[in-house]
Amino acid sequence: MDLIQNLELEILELREMLKNKEEDLREAKRNKFSKSYDNVIGTKSNINIGNIPKWAIERYSRQILLPDIGVMGQEKLMSSKVLIVGAGGLGCPASVYLAGAGIGEIGIVDYDTVDISNIHRQILHTESDWCKSKAKSAAESLRRINSNIKVTPYTIEFKPENAVQIASNYDLIIDCTDNVPTRYMLSDLSIITKVPLISGSALKMEGQLTIYGYRESRNEKSSGPCYRCLFPTPPPAAAVGSCSANGVAGPVPGAIGSLQALEAIKLLVGRNRENLLVGRMLIFDGEDMTFRTVKLRPKNPKCESCSDHATIKQLTNYEVLCKMQSKEKDLDLNILPQSHRISATELSKSLNTQRHLLIDVRSEAEYNMCHLEDSVNYPLEQLYGEKFDLLVENIKNNDNVIFICRRGNDSQIAADKILKVLPDAKIKDLSGGLHAWAEQVDRRFPIY
Protein backbone atom coordinates (compact mmCIF):
# COMPACT_ATOMS: atom_id res chain seq x y z
CA MET A 1 0.00 0.00 0.00
CA ASP A 2 1.33 3.42 -0.78
CA LEU A 3 1.77 6.31 1.60
CA ILE A 4 -1.33 8.22 0.48
CA GLN A 5 -3.62 5.25 0.93
CA ASN A 6 -2.12 4.48 4.33
CA LEU A 7 -2.59 8.02 5.56
CA GLU A 8 -6.13 8.20 4.23
CA LEU A 9 -7.04 5.04 6.10
CA GLU A 10 -5.41 6.21 9.30
CA ILE A 11 -7.16 9.58 9.15
CA LEU A 12 -10.48 7.86 8.53
CA GLU A 13 -10.05 5.78 11.69
CA LEU A 14 -9.00 8.80 13.74
CA ARG A 15 -12.04 10.72 12.49
CA GLU A 16 -14.33 7.91 13.54
CA MET A 17 -12.73 7.95 17.01
CA LEU A 18 -13.06 11.71 17.20
CA LYS A 19 -16.71 11.50 16.21
CA ASN A 20 -17.40 9.03 19.03
CA LYS A 21 -15.58 11.20 21.57
CA GLU A 22 -17.57 14.23 20.43
CA GLU A 23 -20.78 12.28 20.84
CA ASP A 24 -19.71 11.27 24.39
CA LEU A 25 -18.93 14.87 25.20
CA ARG A 26 -22.29 16.07 23.92
CA GLU A 27 -24.05 13.44 26.01
CA ALA A 28 -22.07 14.43 29.12
CA LYS A 29 -22.84 18.10 28.56
CA ARG A 30 -26.52 17.41 28.02
CA ASN A 31 -26.69 15.60 31.35
CA LYS A 32 -24.76 18.27 33.21
CA PHE A 33 -26.72 21.17 31.76
CA SER A 34 -30.11 19.68 32.45
CA LYS A 35 -29.03 18.98 36.07
CA SER A 36 -27.64 22.45 36.67
CA TYR A 37 -30.85 23.85 35.20
CA ASP A 38 -32.82 21.78 37.72
CA ASN A 39 -30.60 23.10 40.51
CA VAL A 40 -31.39 26.70 39.67
CA ILE A 41 -35.08 25.91 39.67
CA GLY A 42 -34.74 23.75 42.80
CA THR A 43 -32.97 26.19 45.09
CA LYS A 44 -34.87 29.39 45.53
CA SER A 45 -32.87 31.84 43.52
CA ASN A 46 -33.16 35.60 43.44
CA ILE A 47 -31.93 35.77 39.84
CA ASN A 48 -34.66 36.33 37.30
CA ILE A 49 -33.71 34.89 33.93
CA GLY A 50 -37.13 34.15 32.56
CA ASN A 51 -38.10 30.70 31.43
CA ILE A 52 -34.89 29.71 29.74
CA PRO A 53 -31.77 28.29 31.39
CA LYS A 54 -28.60 30.20 32.16
CA TRP A 55 -26.59 28.53 29.44
CA ALA A 56 -29.19 29.58 26.89
CA ILE A 57 -29.04 33.21 27.99
CA GLU A 58 -25.28 33.09 27.68
CA ARG A 59 -25.27 31.28 24.40
CA TYR A 60 -28.00 33.25 22.62
CA SER A 61 -27.58 36.63 24.31
CA ARG A 62 -26.63 38.48 21.13
CA GLN A 63 -29.95 37.69 19.48
CA ILE A 64 -32.03 37.83 22.70
CA LEU A 65 -30.94 41.46 22.95
CA LEU A 66 -32.92 42.22 19.80
CA PRO A 67 -36.39 43.57 20.50
CA ASP A 68 -37.53 41.43 17.56
CA ILE A 69 -36.56 38.27 19.45
CA GLY A 70 -36.16 38.77 23.20
CA VAL A 71 -36.43 36.03 25.83
CA MET A 72 -39.92 35.11 24.67
CA GLY A 73 -38.73 34.76 21.11
CA GLN A 74 -35.78 32.65 22.18
CA GLU A 75 -38.11 30.36 24.07
CA LYS A 76 -40.19 29.93 20.93
CA LEU A 77 -37.12 29.21 18.82
CA MET A 78 -35.97 26.59 21.31
CA SER A 79 -39.29 24.82 21.16
CA SER A 80 -39.62 25.03 17.36
CA LYS A 81 -39.09 22.31 14.80
CA VAL A 82 -37.89 23.17 11.32
CA LEU A 83 -37.65 20.86 8.31
CA ILE A 84 -35.04 21.75 5.71
CA VAL A 85 -35.53 20.03 2.37
CA GLY A 86 -32.22 19.90 0.54
CA ALA A 87 -28.76 19.97 2.14
CA GLY A 88 -27.19 21.85 -0.76
CA GLY A 89 -26.31 25.44 -1.63
CA LEU A 90 -29.36 26.88 0.15
CA GLY A 91 -29.90 24.23 2.83
CA CYS A 92 -26.37 24.52 4.21
CA PRO A 93 -26.35 28.26 5.03
CA ALA A 94 -30.03 28.20 6.07
CA SER A 95 -29.44 25.38 8.55
CA VAL A 96 -26.18 26.85 9.89
CA TYR A 97 -27.98 29.97 11.09
CA LEU A 98 -30.97 28.04 12.39
CA ALA A 99 -28.73 25.70 14.36
CA GLY A 100 -26.79 28.68 15.64
CA ALA A 101 -30.01 30.38 16.70
CA GLY A 102 -30.95 27.37 18.82
CA ILE A 103 -33.97 26.02 16.93
CA GLY A 104 -35.06 23.08 19.08
CA GLU A 105 -35.20 20.50 16.33
CA ILE A 106 -33.88 20.58 12.79
CA GLY A 107 -34.73 17.89 10.26
CA ILE A 108 -32.67 17.84 7.10
CA VAL A 109 -33.63 15.80 4.03
CA ASP A 110 -31.36 14.86 1.15
CA TYR A 111 -31.03 11.55 -0.70
CA ASP A 112 -27.85 12.65 -2.48
CA THR A 113 -24.18 12.24 -1.61
CA VAL A 114 -21.48 14.89 -1.43
CA ASP A 115 -19.68 15.51 -4.70
CA ILE A 116 -16.48 17.52 -4.94
CA SER A 117 -18.29 20.05 -7.19
CA ASN A 118 -20.75 20.82 -4.35
CA ILE A 119 -18.22 22.18 -1.91
CA HIS A 120 -17.79 25.67 -3.39
CA ARG A 121 -21.27 26.53 -2.14
CA GLN A 122 -22.49 23.77 0.18
CA ILE A 123 -20.63 25.01 3.20
CA LEU A 124 -21.46 22.22 5.65
CA HIS A 125 -19.59 19.63 3.59
CA THR A 126 -15.82 19.33 3.45
CA GLU A 127 -13.37 17.38 1.32
CA SER A 128 -13.44 14.53 3.80
CA ASP A 129 -17.22 14.19 3.36
CA TRP A 130 -16.85 13.22 -0.28
CA CYS A 131 -19.33 10.45 -1.21
CA LYS A 132 -20.96 10.67 2.24
CA SER A 133 -24.70 11.27 2.56
CA LYS A 134 -25.36 15.01 2.38
CA ALA A 135 -28.01 14.81 5.08
CA LYS A 136 -25.61 13.01 7.45
CA SER A 137 -22.68 15.24 6.64
CA ALA A 138 -24.85 18.34 7.23
CA ALA A 139 -26.25 16.91 10.47
CA GLU A 140 -22.76 16.21 11.81
CA SER A 141 -21.61 19.74 11.02
CA LEU A 142 -24.73 21.21 12.64
CA ARG A 143 -24.20 19.18 15.81
CA ARG A 144 -20.65 20.50 15.96
CA ILE A 145 -22.06 24.03 15.75
CA ASN A 146 -24.69 23.46 18.41
CA SER A 147 -24.79 20.36 20.59
CA ASN A 148 -27.86 21.62 22.44
CA ILE A 149 -30.27 21.06 19.59
CA LYS A 150 -31.71 17.91 18.08
CA VAL A 151 -30.74 17.26 14.48
CA THR A 152 -32.41 14.53 12.44
CA PRO A 153 -30.94 13.62 9.06
CA TYR A 154 -33.27 11.97 6.53
CA THR A 155 -31.10 10.23 3.95
CA ILE A 156 -34.04 9.49 1.72
CA GLU A 157 -35.69 10.93 -1.33
CA PHE A 158 -38.52 13.23 -0.25
CA LYS A 159 -41.51 11.78 -2.09
CA PRO A 160 -45.31 12.00 -2.04
CA GLU A 161 -45.28 8.66 -0.17
CA ASN A 162 -43.25 9.90 2.81
CA ALA A 163 -43.48 13.69 2.73
CA VAL A 164 -46.73 14.19 4.63
CA GLN A 165 -45.70 11.99 7.52
CA ILE A 166 -42.32 13.65 7.91
CA ALA A 167 -43.51 17.23 7.45
CA SER A 168 -46.41 16.90 9.91
CA ASN A 169 -43.89 16.79 12.76
CA TYR A 170 -42.54 20.25 11.96
CA ASP A 171 -43.61 23.87 12.39
CA LEU A 172 -41.99 25.17 9.26
CA ILE A 173 -40.62 23.84 5.97
CA ILE A 174 -37.68 25.47 4.21
CA ASP A 175 -37.56 24.77 0.48
CA CYS A 176 -33.89 24.43 -0.41
CA THR A 177 -34.44 22.08 -3.35
CA ASP A 178 -33.16 22.30 -6.88
CA ASN A 179 -35.92 21.19 -9.19
CA VAL A 180 -39.42 22.04 -10.39
CA PRO A 181 -41.36 18.86 -9.46
CA THR A 182 -40.18 18.99 -5.83
CA ARG A 183 -41.10 22.68 -5.60
CA TYR A 184 -44.69 21.92 -6.65
CA MET A 185 -44.78 19.03 -4.20
CA LEU A 186 -43.55 21.18 -1.30
CA SER A 187 -46.19 23.83 -2.01
CA ASP A 188 -49.02 21.29 -1.97
CA LEU A 189 -47.44 19.65 1.09
CA SER A 190 -47.38 22.98 2.89
CA ILE A 191 -51.12 23.47 2.26
CA ILE A 192 -52.08 19.88 3.15
CA THR A 193 -50.07 19.82 6.38
CA LYS A 194 -50.76 23.50 7.20
CA VAL A 195 -47.05 24.11 7.66
CA PRO A 196 -45.78 27.35 6.07
CA LEU A 197 -43.06 27.17 3.44
CA ILE A 198 -40.08 29.46 3.02
CA SER A 199 -39.00 29.07 -0.56
CA GLY A 200 -35.59 30.06 -1.86
CA SER A 201 -33.91 29.48 -5.18
CA ALA A 202 -30.64 30.41 -6.82
CA LEU A 203 -29.01 30.04 -10.20
CA LYS A 204 -25.98 31.62 -11.81
CA MET A 205 -25.84 35.12 -10.26
CA GLU A 206 -29.50 35.43 -9.24
CA GLY A 207 -31.69 34.39 -6.37
CA GLN A 208 -35.35 34.56 -5.34
CA LEU A 209 -37.06 34.27 -1.97
CA THR A 210 -40.64 34.32 -0.67
CA ILE A 211 -42.99 32.67 1.84
CA TYR A 212 -45.82 30.46 0.56
CA GLY A 213 -48.85 29.15 2.41
CA TYR A 214 -48.48 31.61 5.28
CA ARG A 215 -51.08 31.34 8.05
CA GLU A 216 -51.41 33.14 11.37
CA SER A 217 -51.64 29.84 13.19
CA ARG A 218 -52.08 26.19 12.35
CA ASN A 219 -55.84 26.38 12.92
CA GLU A 220 -56.39 29.24 10.55
CA LYS A 221 -56.66 29.25 6.78
CA SER A 222 -53.63 30.32 4.82
CA SER A 223 -53.72 34.03 4.08
CA GLY A 224 -50.80 34.36 1.69
CA PRO A 225 -50.49 32.87 -1.80
CA CYS A 226 -49.09 29.41 -2.47
CA TYR A 227 -46.72 28.47 -5.29
CA ARG A 228 -49.66 27.37 -7.44
CA CYS A 229 -51.47 30.69 -6.95
CA LEU A 230 -48.51 32.29 -8.70
CA PHE A 231 -47.63 29.52 -11.11
CA PRO A 232 -50.67 27.35 -11.81
CA THR A 233 -48.88 25.74 -14.77
CA PRO A 234 -45.32 24.36 -14.64
CA PRO A 235 -42.78 25.86 -17.06
CA PRO A 236 -41.61 23.98 -20.17
CA ALA A 237 -38.59 21.78 -19.40
CA ALA A 238 -36.49 23.57 -22.02
CA ALA A 239 -36.79 26.80 -20.03
CA VAL A 240 -35.53 25.37 -16.74
CA GLY A 241 -31.88 25.73 -15.81
CA SER A 242 -29.87 23.88 -13.16
CA CYS A 243 -26.73 24.61 -11.16
CA SER A 244 -24.93 21.67 -12.76
CA ALA A 245 -25.71 22.79 -16.30
CA ASN A 246 -25.75 26.58 -15.97
CA GLY A 247 -23.47 27.14 -13.00
CA VAL A 248 -23.94 29.15 -9.83
CA ALA A 249 -21.72 31.51 -7.83
CA GLY A 250 -21.39 30.07 -4.31
CA PRO A 251 -22.25 33.26 -2.39
CA VAL A 252 -25.58 33.61 -4.26
CA PRO A 253 -27.29 30.60 -2.62
CA GLY A 254 -25.25 31.61 0.44
CA ALA A 255 -27.08 34.94 0.58
CA ILE A 256 -30.52 33.51 -0.21
CA GLY A 257 -30.13 30.59 2.24
CA SER A 258 -29.06 32.99 5.00
CA LEU A 259 -32.11 35.15 4.35
CA GLN A 260 -34.35 32.07 4.41
CA ALA A 261 -33.01 31.46 7.93
CA LEU A 262 -33.77 35.06 8.89
CA GLU A 263 -37.36 34.81 7.63
CA ALA A 264 -37.68 31.49 9.49
CA ILE A 265 -36.54 33.07 12.75
CA LYS A 266 -38.91 36.02 12.30
CA LEU A 267 -41.83 33.77 11.45
CA LEU A 268 -41.19 31.45 14.41
CA VAL A 269 -40.96 34.26 16.96
CA GLY A 270 -44.27 35.56 15.60
CA ARG A 271 -43.45 38.69 13.63
CA ASN A 272 -46.58 39.74 11.78
CA ARG A 273 -47.13 39.24 8.09
CA GLU A 274 -46.38 42.85 7.14
CA ASN A 275 -42.81 42.25 8.28
CA LEU A 276 -42.47 38.93 6.49
CA LEU A 277 -42.05 38.13 2.80
CA VAL A 278 -45.71 37.17 2.47
CA GLY A 279 -47.23 38.30 -0.82
CA ARG A 280 -43.85 39.78 -1.68
CA MET A 281 -40.81 38.30 -3.37
CA LEU A 282 -37.20 39.26 -2.90
CA ILE A 283 -35.27 39.19 -6.15
CA PHE A 284 -31.49 39.36 -5.92
CA ASP A 285 -29.19 39.95 -8.86
CA GLY A 286 -25.53 39.57 -7.96
CA GLU A 287 -24.48 40.77 -11.39
CA ASP A 288 -25.19 44.41 -10.54
CA MET A 289 -25.82 43.83 -6.81
CA THR A 290 -29.49 44.77 -6.71
CA PHE A 291 -32.05 43.57 -4.21
CA ARG A 292 -35.65 44.24 -5.22
CA THR A 293 -38.76 43.35 -3.29
CA VAL A 294 -41.73 43.06 -5.58
CA LYS A 295 -45.40 42.82 -4.74
CA LEU A 296 -47.07 39.54 -5.63
CA ARG A 297 -50.73 38.81 -6.38
CA PRO A 298 -52.88 37.78 -3.40
CA LYS A 299 -54.07 34.23 -2.82
CA ASN A 300 -56.02 33.01 -5.85
CA PRO A 301 -59.65 32.44 -4.78
CA LYS A 302 -59.82 29.64 -7.36
CA CYS A 303 -56.45 28.04 -6.58
CA GLU A 304 -56.50 24.27 -7.05
CA SER A 305 -54.37 23.82 -3.97
CA CYS A 306 -55.07 26.46 -1.33
CA SER A 307 -58.49 28.00 -2.01
CA ASP A 308 -61.86 27.00 -0.58
CA HIS A 309 -62.49 25.25 -3.91
CA ALA A 310 -59.24 23.30 -3.82
CA THR A 311 -59.30 20.01 -5.69
CA ILE A 312 -55.89 18.84 -4.55
CA LYS A 313 -56.40 16.97 -1.32
CA GLN A 314 -53.35 14.74 -1.45
CA LEU A 315 -49.93 14.70 -3.06
CA THR A 316 -49.72 13.39 -6.61
CA ASN A 317 -46.98 12.43 -9.08
CA TYR A 318 -45.10 15.67 -9.61
CA GLU A 319 -42.75 14.40 -12.29
CA VAL A 320 -45.82 13.64 -14.41
CA LEU A 321 -47.42 16.98 -13.57
CA CYS A 322 -44.27 18.89 -14.55
CA LYS A 323 -43.20 16.55 -17.38
CA MET A 324 -39.71 16.66 -15.84
CA GLN A 325 -37.41 14.52 -13.73
CA SER A 326 -36.66 15.61 -10.20
CA LYS A 327 -33.25 13.93 -10.30
CA GLU A 328 -31.19 15.23 -13.16
CA LYS A 329 -28.74 12.34 -12.90
CA ASP A 330 -31.44 9.80 -13.68
CA LEU A 331 -32.20 11.13 -17.11
CA ASP A 332 -31.14 8.42 -19.54
CA LEU A 333 -32.60 9.06 -22.96
CA ASN A 334 -32.82 6.43 -25.65
CA ILE A 335 -33.86 8.42 -28.66
CA LEU A 336 -31.53 7.00 -31.27
CA PRO A 337 -31.35 3.39 -32.46
CA GLN A 338 -28.17 1.41 -31.68
CA SER A 339 -26.97 1.88 -35.26
CA HIS A 340 -26.57 5.57 -34.54
CA ARG A 341 -24.65 5.17 -31.31
CA ILE A 342 -21.04 4.49 -30.52
CA SER A 343 -19.33 3.63 -27.24
CA ALA A 344 -16.39 5.65 -25.97
CA THR A 345 -13.99 2.73 -26.44
CA GLU A 346 -15.09 2.18 -30.04
CA LEU A 347 -14.84 5.86 -30.80
CA SER A 348 -11.33 6.03 -29.42
CA LYS A 349 -10.27 3.15 -31.71
CA SER A 350 -12.01 4.68 -34.68
CA LEU A 351 -10.33 8.05 -34.09
CA ASN A 352 -6.94 6.39 -34.63
CA THR A 353 -7.79 5.24 -38.12
CA GLN A 354 -10.29 7.70 -39.57
CA ARG A 355 -11.08 11.39 -39.73
CA HIS A 356 -14.18 12.43 -37.81
CA LEU A 357 -16.25 15.52 -37.42
CA LEU A 358 -16.70 15.82 -33.65
CA ILE A 359 -19.64 18.02 -32.74
CA ASP A 360 -19.86 19.05 -29.11
CA VAL A 361 -23.39 20.29 -28.34
CA ARG A 362 -22.77 21.50 -24.78
CA SER A 363 -22.99 25.20 -23.92
CA GLU A 364 -20.14 27.49 -24.91
CA ALA A 365 -19.14 27.83 -21.24
CA GLU A 366 -18.90 24.07 -20.80
CA TYR A 367 -16.97 23.69 -24.06
CA ASN A 368 -14.53 26.39 -22.99
CA MET A 369 -13.98 24.61 -19.68
CA CYS A 370 -12.89 21.34 -21.31
CA HIS A 371 -13.38 19.59 -24.65
CA LEU A 372 -11.93 16.89 -26.88
CA GLU A 373 -9.21 17.96 -29.26
CA ASP A 374 -10.48 18.91 -32.72
CA SER A 375 -14.12 18.97 -31.63
CA VAL A 376 -16.27 21.90 -32.70
CA ASN A 377 -18.92 23.56 -30.57
CA TYR A 378 -22.55 23.82 -31.72
CA PRO A 379 -24.55 24.40 -28.52
CA LEU A 380 -27.89 22.55 -28.61
CA GLU A 381 -29.67 25.67 -27.39
CA GLN A 382 -28.53 27.49 -30.54
CA LEU A 383 -29.38 24.76 -33.02
CA TYR A 384 -32.06 26.54 -35.00
CA GLY A 385 -32.17 29.06 -37.82
CA GLU A 386 -28.88 29.92 -39.53
CA LYS A 387 -26.66 27.98 -37.12
CA PHE A 388 -28.69 24.86 -37.72
CA ASP A 389 -28.52 25.26 -41.50
CA LEU A 390 -24.78 25.78 -41.29
CA LEU A 391 -24.35 22.57 -39.32
CA VAL A 392 -26.53 20.64 -41.77
CA GLU A 393 -24.31 21.82 -44.66
CA ASN A 394 -21.23 20.87 -42.70
CA ILE A 395 -22.55 17.38 -42.00
CA LYS A 396 -23.61 16.70 -45.62
CA ASN A 397 -19.96 16.53 -46.68
CA ASN A 398 -18.89 14.22 -43.91
CA ASP A 399 -18.86 10.46 -43.56
CA ASN A 400 -18.03 10.31 -39.88
CA VAL A 401 -20.00 12.62 -37.67
CA ILE A 402 -20.03 12.17 -33.91
CA PHE A 403 -22.32 14.10 -31.56
CA ILE A 404 -20.98 14.67 -28.07
CA CYS A 405 -22.32 16.12 -24.83
CA ARG A 406 -21.78 15.67 -21.10
CA ARG A 407 -23.87 12.57 -20.38
CA GLY A 408 -25.16 11.50 -23.79
CA ASN A 409 -28.69 12.93 -23.65
CA ASP A 410 -28.45 16.30 -25.40
CA SER A 411 -26.22 14.78 -28.08
CA GLN A 412 -29.02 12.38 -28.99
CA ILE A 413 -31.52 15.21 -29.16
CA ALA A 414 -29.19 17.15 -31.47
CA ALA A 415 -28.39 14.12 -33.65
CA ASP A 416 -32.08 13.33 -33.91
CA LYS A 417 -32.78 16.89 -35.03
CA ILE A 418 -30.26 16.50 -37.87
CA LEU A 419 -31.52 13.02 -38.84
CA LYS A 420 -34.99 14.48 -39.29
CA VAL A 421 -33.71 16.62 -42.17
CA LEU A 422 -30.86 14.32 -43.31
CA PRO A 423 -32.19 10.79 -42.72
CA ASP A 424 -29.17 9.16 -44.41
CA ALA A 425 -26.50 11.20 -42.65
CA LYS A 426 -23.57 9.23 -41.23
CA ILE A 427 -24.18 10.34 -37.69
CA LYS A 428 -23.38 8.68 -34.41
CA ASP A 429 -23.88 9.79 -30.85
CA LEU A 430 -21.23 9.18 -28.20
CA SER A 431 -23.09 6.89 -25.80
CA GLY A 432 -22.80 8.13 -22.22
CA GLY A 433 -21.11 11.33 -23.39
CA LEU A 434 -17.89 12.75 -22.05
CA HIS A 435 -18.47 11.07 -18.69
CA ALA A 436 -18.20 7.70 -20.44
CA TRP A 437 -15.14 8.97 -22.33
CA ALA A 438 -13.46 9.91 -19.05
CA GLU A 439 -14.29 6.56 -17.47
CA GLN A 440 -13.48 4.26 -20.38
CA VAL A 441 -10.85 6.04 -22.45
CA ASP A 442 -9.07 8.95 -20.86
CA ARG A 443 -9.09 9.47 -17.12
CA ARG A 444 -7.47 12.85 -17.57
CA PHE A 445 -10.74 14.27 -18.89
CA PRO A 446 -12.57 16.09 -16.05
CA ILE A 447 -15.90 14.65 -14.89
CA TYR A 448 -18.01 17.56 -13.75
Binding site: T233, P235, P236, G241, V248
Partner: protein, 109 residues
Protein backbone atom coordinates in the same frame (compact mmCIF):
# COMPACT_ATOMS: atom_id res chain seq x y z
CA UNK B 1 -43.07 62.49 -31.04
CA UNK B 2 -46.80 62.47 -30.66
CA UNK B 3 -48.03 59.74 -28.33
CA UNK B 4 -44.75 57.84 -28.23
CA UNK B 5 -43.84 56.15 -24.96
CA UNK B 6 -40.57 55.50 -23.19
CA UNK B 7 -40.65 52.08 -21.58
CA UNK B 8 -38.06 50.26 -19.52
CA UNK B 9 -38.08 46.56 -20.23
CA UNK B 10 -36.25 44.32 -17.82
CA UNK B 11 -35.52 40.61 -18.27
CA UNK B 12 -34.18 38.36 -15.52
CA UNK B 13 -33.93 34.87 -14.08
CA UNK B 14 -32.66 33.53 -17.41
CA UNK B 15 -35.34 35.18 -19.60
CA UNK B 16 -32.60 37.54 -20.81
CA UNK B 17 -30.96 34.62 -22.64
CA UNK B 18 -33.63 35.00 -25.31
CA UNK B 19 -32.74 38.67 -25.71
CA UNK B 20 -29.02 38.65 -26.50
CA UNK B 21 -28.32 38.22 -22.77
CA UNK B 22 -29.21 41.87 -22.19
CA UNK B 23 -31.22 42.38 -19.02
CA UNK B 24 -32.18 46.06 -19.33
CA UNK B 25 -33.68 47.64 -22.41
CA UNK B 26 -34.96 51.19 -22.75
CA UNK B 27 -37.26 51.44 -25.72
CA UNK B 28 -39.34 54.11 -27.39
CA UNK B 29 -42.67 52.86 -28.62
CA UNK B 30 -44.18 54.85 -31.50
CA UNK B 31 -47.80 55.92 -31.40
CA UNK B 32 -49.89 52.75 -31.29
CA UNK B 33 -51.92 53.87 -34.31
CA UNK B 34 -48.74 54.10 -36.35
CA UNK B 35 -47.37 50.74 -35.20
CA UNK B 36 -50.64 48.93 -35.85
CA UNK B 37 -51.89 50.92 -38.88
CA UNK B 38 -54.52 48.50 -40.17
CA UNK B 39 -56.24 48.01 -36.84
CA UNK B 40 -58.30 50.13 -34.48
CA UNK B 41 -55.63 49.81 -31.75
CA UNK B 42 -55.02 53.23 -30.24
CA UNK B 43 -53.25 52.46 -27.01
CA UNK B 44 -50.30 50.44 -25.89
CA UNK B 45 -51.34 47.72 -23.50
CA UNK B 46 -49.17 44.81 -22.33
CA UNK B 47 -50.82 42.78 -25.07
CA UNK B 48 -49.45 45.14 -27.74
CA UNK B 49 -46.11 45.35 -25.97
CA UNK B 50 -45.72 41.56 -26.22
CA UNK B 51 -46.35 41.81 -29.95
CA UNK B 52 -43.77 44.59 -30.19
CA UNK B 53 -41.23 42.54 -28.20
CA UNK B 54 -41.86 39.59 -30.50
CA UNK B 55 -41.34 41.78 -33.58
CA UNK B 56 -38.34 43.72 -32.34
CA UNK B 57 -36.45 42.01 -29.53
CA UNK B 58 -37.25 38.32 -29.63
CA UNK B 59 -35.24 36.79 -32.43
CA UNK B 60 -35.48 33.05 -31.89
CA UNK B 61 -37.43 30.41 -30.00
CA UNK B 62 -40.48 32.55 -29.17
CA UNK B 63 -42.07 29.51 -27.50
CA UNK B 64 -39.66 29.94 -24.58
CA UNK B 65 -41.13 33.38 -23.95
CA UNK B 66 -44.65 33.44 -25.34
CA UNK B 67 -47.51 30.99 -25.27
CA UNK B 68 -50.64 31.88 -27.22
CA UNK B 69 -51.05 35.63 -26.85
CA UNK B 70 -49.57 35.73 -23.34
CA UNK B 71 -46.21 34.91 -21.70
CA UNK B 72 -45.32 31.28 -21.10
CA UNK B 73 -45.86 29.64 -17.69
CA UNK B 74 -43.08 30.27 -15.18
CA UNK B 75 -42.42 33.89 -16.13
CA UNK B 76 -43.46 36.46 -13.59
CA UNK B 77 -44.55 39.75 -15.18
CA UNK B 78 -44.13 42.86 -13.07
CA UNK B 79 -45.43 46.35 -13.74
CA UNK B 80 -43.32 48.82 -11.78
CA UNK B 81 -42.31 46.07 -9.34
CA UNK B 82 -45.80 44.67 -8.77
CA UNK B 83 -47.38 41.50 -10.16
CA UNK B 84 -49.24 42.30 -13.41
CA UNK B 85 -52.24 40.39 -12.09
CA UNK B 86 -52.93 43.38 -9.84
CA UNK B 87 -53.30 45.58 -12.94
CA UNK B 88 -55.34 43.49 -15.36
CA UNK B 89 -52.45 41.55 -16.94
CA UNK B 90 -52.61 41.88 -20.76
CA UNK B 91 -55.11 44.74 -20.59
CA UNK B 92 -52.94 47.12 -18.57
CA UNK B 93 -52.40 50.36 -20.47
CA UNK B 94 -48.75 51.41 -20.55
CA UNK B 95 -47.79 54.77 -19.12
CA UNK B 96 -44.73 56.80 -20.04
CA UNK B 97 -41.63 55.58 -18.14
CA UNK B 98 -43.23 52.38 -16.91
CA UNK B 99 -40.87 49.57 -16.02
CA UNK B 100 -42.07 46.19 -17.23
CA UNK B 101 -40.15 43.20 -15.86
CA UNK B 102 -40.22 39.64 -17.17
CA UNK B 103 -38.54 37.38 -14.69
CA UNK B 104 -38.20 33.67 -15.10
CA UNK B 105 -38.61 31.75 -11.85
CA UNK B 106 -35.48 30.04 -10.63
CA UNK B 107 -35.45 26.45 -9.40
CA UNK B 108 -31.81 25.81 -8.56
CA UNK B 109 -30.44 25.50 -5.09
Amino acid sequence: MENSLNIHIHFGGGAELLFDKIKKHVVELPAARKYFPDTDIEKWRIKELLQWIKDNLLKERPELFLQGDSVRPGILVLINDADWELFGELEYELQNNDEITFISTLHGG
